[in-house]
Symmetry: C2
Subunit: 110 residues, 2 copies
């Protein structure tokens, strides 16, 4: 519906960056959450993601993910998540977003 | 800076979907633009993208890309672009975003 269309300026409020997973581990007592440390070259962030049913922690280490970088931090199971990784789901399968070719960690998405 | 942080509701205004490239061709008289037809299962969209210096058209066909799906259509070189593909750049290299595992075309990103 046309009325739901957004402007390019609204889109540009969202900062998306490529981050490389430095470490990943299960969150104790959570059936869904993984705790990731993600590097953006100039800084590292802790990001908590509900993807445990689809990814093993060791599968994620070294992978380049796409992170909403300017989201207000959230608390999940007492852990701060400073950013949100993007993933696509068709209702059955879930995949994190990544880059097709290798670009440096910290790269901005537009 | 904290004051630039956005809420999850602001992020959710942006609809991102996985689309599969059906066809790709160079835009005549343009040094940068490719014209893509992208399928989302329930519909196809024409999207014009400034990635000609980084991708050959034939390299893109069949690839799953991430598209801002609810952006107001734009005109580029007289062609309507109904959506925008996401790409990451480190200033030198440019990569389109894609999925790490295969999910159905049309899948939503969150």
């Amino acid at each position: 519906m046309e009325e739901d269309r957004i402007s390019i300026d609204e889109f540009r409020k969202i900062k998306l960056r490529v981050g490389k997973v430095v470490s990943a581990e299960e969150v104790p007592n959570s059936s869904k959450l993984l705790k990731l440390i993600i590097s953006f070259k100039d800084e590292q962030r802790q990001v908590v993601a509900g993807i445990k049913n689809h990814y093993k922690p060791e599968e994620l280490v070294g992978k380049k993910l796409i992170v909403v970088f300017n989201l207000k931090p959230a608390k999940l199971m007492g852990l701060t998540s400073d950013g949100m990784i993007l993933a696509a789901s068709d209702g059955e399968k879930l995949s994190v977003l990544t880059v097709d070719k290798d670009v440096d960690e910290g790269s901005y998405v537009s």
